[in-house]
């Protein structure tokens, strides 16, 4: 399941059934890649950083 972001796909905020869409021949990855929908997990991830910067590069302080 995903969430609609662009009104070109439907009502923003409404759920988007990725399984049904895939069965109907829709390229769901393309919709996610270009920001039409967001996977529910990705939408909830917020700004949390999961990567470590390479040695010698300091992260900006927020």
């Amino acid at each position: 399941m995903a969430r609609i972001i662009s009104d070109r796909v439907g009502t923003p905020g409404e759920p988007f059934d990725t399984e049904a869409a895939a069965e109907a021949g829709i390229n769901v990855d393309a919709l996610i890649q270009h920001g039409f929908i967001a996977a529910d997990g990705a939408a909830k991830s917020g700004k949390k950083k999961t990567t470590t910067p390479p040695d010698g590069i300091s992260e900006p302080q927020e």
Binding site: A21, I26, N27, A30, L31, G35, F36
Partner: protein
């Protein structure tokens, strides 16, 4: 009585994305290979339908803004998707059939086609796929 339909408000979706406001021309051709089945004793050539070989050709205004033409099509080149076309907006019905090509292939995308002083437009063609019509 002859009638003419001026399609001023057809709806087009590509991969579930509504591109009506970027489209100014669309042609969906339903075609089946003609397999000759003429036999001895026949006086005219006769044919039966072979494989379907349908095509949707559309002309779109190009836009590189978020969730516009380029964003819709960029990831679809060389893949299959589903496209729909309806004569007018609104629910599918007998007088407003919804034509669908499922699993249709986008072979090529002109990523830029620009002329000085003109709006940029592109022509793309979806090839093959399963054709269906919904009237309800």
């Amino acid at each position: 009585m002859a009638t003419t339909t001026y399609l001023s408000n057809p709806t087009l979706t590509v991969n579930s994305v509504d591109l009506q406001d970027q489209c100014h021309s669309a042609t969906l051709t339903v075609k089946y290979d003609a397999l000759e089945s003429t036999a001895f004793g026949g006086t005219s050539r006769v044919y039966v339908a072979g494989l379907g070989d349908h095509e949707l050709s559309v002309e779109l205004y190009m836009s590189y803004a978020a969730t516009e033409t380029y964003a819709t099509l960029a990831a679809l080149v060389g893949t299959t998707t589903t496209v729909t076309l309806q004569p007018t907006s609104g629910a599918a019905s007998a007088t407003n059939p919804k034509f669908t090509l499922t699993g249709t292939y986008l072979e090529a995308l002109p990523v830029i086609d620009a002329k000085l002083g003109e709006l940029s437009t592109i022509s793309i063609t979806f090839k093959g796929g399963t054709y269906s019509v919904a009237t309800s």
